[in-house]
Amino acid sequence: MRKFVLSMLVVLLLVSSACAEVTSLTLALRAGTYSEVIKRCLPAFEAEHGVKAEVLELAEDDLHSKLALDAANSEGAYDLCMVDGSWMAEFSSNGVLADLGALGVELDDDIIPAATKISYYGGKLYLVPYYGNVTVLLYNKALVNGKPLNSLDDLLSVCRAAKESGKKGFIYRGDTENNLVVDFMPVLLSFGAWVLDGNNKPSVNTPEFREAVKFYLELIATGDAEAKDDLIATIDSGAGTMGVGWPGWYLPSESSNADYCAITGRVSNDGTAHNANVYGVWTIGIPANSTHKALAAELLKYLINPAVQKSTVEFGGVPCRYSSLTDPEVLAKFPQYKVVCAALEGGVYRPVIEEWTEFYTILGTELGNIFNGVKTVDKGLEDAQTALEQLMN
């Protein structure tokens, strides 16, 4: 008996010391294609550095609150994290993220410049754009039938025609305030309007804003609100015509029913073009309280290496790099990356303000009221403006 206990102890000691030798990095990532492509790159890094990488795959809201909660601890649970651009202000002003420059990470010219707009805060680098998510227009090929989609007027006429033929026109996501706001943003931008003015004050009750909402009401009257999966299925099956989507949602091919294109930012065919594609770029940062910052920086550098990023393309990765997006080999296989590249170059980040979560909740609530006929355009926007001004004070 004593022998048995002793031998068990020895085994335990061996196992625990073996465990202690391998450093383990914990990655908090946005679940979906975003984390999938990173997971595919990990084995090579693990082998090279003799580390183990644990991946936590989280939904967007979950990721946000987990990172925020963990930031309060002196020793953080995560070593590398995906960050949505809209959290940047909140995170950087509260010291959640580590200065990447100090860890030897820097951005190169290969990365699409517009995407790096939110990377710096106070002159320091905190976030590296990784996954080039940007809104595109997802449409059903048969229903569009080669008609031009060069302006919002074009979209409206195609959608109306579809509705007349008994199909749904424009589909938007109506399930959360965030989705309501984001899906509306390309139209808003096309009208030359924005949610904030030049002084970062709310500007949702302007004439341009109202115009944009009124146009959007006409557009969504041709279809309906659906959840993401339904939206994709509706457009793919040909029950609906088009909607605002993301490259990660759909893999178009010669034979696929749907395809996507960049949103031109023009209201009418002779109007001015605005940057109208909204970024949903997933960036990567390192939590300031990570216990393995140096190693995490190594991993980050490895992940954003142009060759490594290019290798993710075939699994659905969308690098924010010219070297990947303009590569002839890539384009031969995935011609839609040309569209993505264009959209990324003309992309707009959601406002980098600390109150963004509350901001979109308020705006989304009022937009929901307007879209569902609970409030008039004027009343809804007025209420939104009042509440937002109160918030930003």
Binding site: D61, S65, L69, E226, T365
Partner: protein
């Protein structure tokens, strides 16, 4: 001897007490404390703001709407759950074939055994305007394909339907068990006294089930008041806030934006409401016991 016994007793209770303190009292106390502050996660400094959170909540039309939605949801769902569960139990209990009773019992219980998330997602699939089985039934009958969760007229009702579907079996089970324990001779006596089927239900079944029904109502009220996963997964509180319950409001305005002070105040108000509502039932159940 007595003293040692007492010390031993205290010693034995300590772990449970400690767990209680850590798991219940501490979070409760901090929630109450935070509700009087402007605590935001990520911000280091917390300052005491008194009743400001409560005042701004009670003057916020969307919060008040969420309270009303919750109360409405709770009342509707509990009413249907209790009535349907009671009627189903009555029906199954009245079946002559014990084997059929057994089969039905299991089948009826199934929805209750599903995790809420699974149930919600199955319903989302069933009611999907694309591949949903419900719409596939409606379409051939010439009925319009409906977007159940995105229509301001149907979304709330769908949540009630799904909650009733999932939780009616709980009431069924409780009532069914209680029905089995009613002495048959009471029914015999009532039949001889001239009570028909309805009079038997009214004078014998219902009074005998009183405690069980009150308990079901209490538990279901508390539970429906806390509804979150179904709302969050199926409607996200929309369309146009028509399905925003208190918990969804807390999630949107407290948790997502990390305003824990505000969220705590919300939670305290909700707890207060549940307490008031359930106090009525609890008192009744206690009275029943003492007879």
């Amino acid at each position: 001897m007595m003293k040692a016994d007492k010390r031993f007793a205290v010693f034995m209770v300590l772990p449970a007490l400690a767990v209680m303190l850590i798991m219940t009292v501490y979070p409760m106390a901090s929630t109450i404390y935070y509700s009087f502050t402007d605590f935001r996660l990520l911000r280091r400094n917390i300052s005491f703001t008194g009743l400001k959170n409560y005042a701004s909540l009670l003057s916020n039309e969307y919060f008040l709407a969420s309270v009303w939605n919750t109360v409405k949801f709770s009342l509707l769902a509990v009413t249907f759950e209790v009535v349907l569960g009671f009627l189903t139990a009555l029906y199954v209990n009245s079946l002559k074939s014990l084997r059929l009773q057994k089969v039905l019992r299991t089948v009826i219980l199934l929805p209750y055994l599903l995790p809420t998330v699974t149930a919600a997602l199955s319903w989302r699939m069933m009611l999907s305007p694309n591949y949903g089985i419900v719409n596939q039934f409606l379409a051939p009958m010439g009925l319009p394909v409906h977007n159940w969760f995105r229509d301001i007229h149907t979304a709330f009702a769908m949540l009630v339907v799904i909650d009733v579907w999932q939780n009616m079996p709980f009431v069924f089970l409780m009532v069914y068990a209680a029905l089995q324990s009613i002495p048959q001779e009471q029914y015999k006596a009532a039949r001889i006294d001239g009570a028909g089927t309805i009079a038997q239900v009214w004078y014998i079944t219902l009074p005998n089930l009183r405690t069980a029904l009150m308990l079901c109502t209490l538990l279901r009220t508390i539970d429906t008041f806390r509804i979150f996963d179904k709302v969050n997964l199926l409607t996200g509180g929309g369309p146009a806030g028509s399905t925003t319950t208190i918990t969804q409001y807390i999630y949107n305005s407290g948790i997502k934006s990390l305003k824990f002070g505000m969220g705590s105040a919300c939670a305290i108000i909700m707890t207060g409401l549940v307490l008031v509502l359930s106090a009525l039932y609890v008192r009744d159940i206690m009275n029943q016991r003492s007879i």
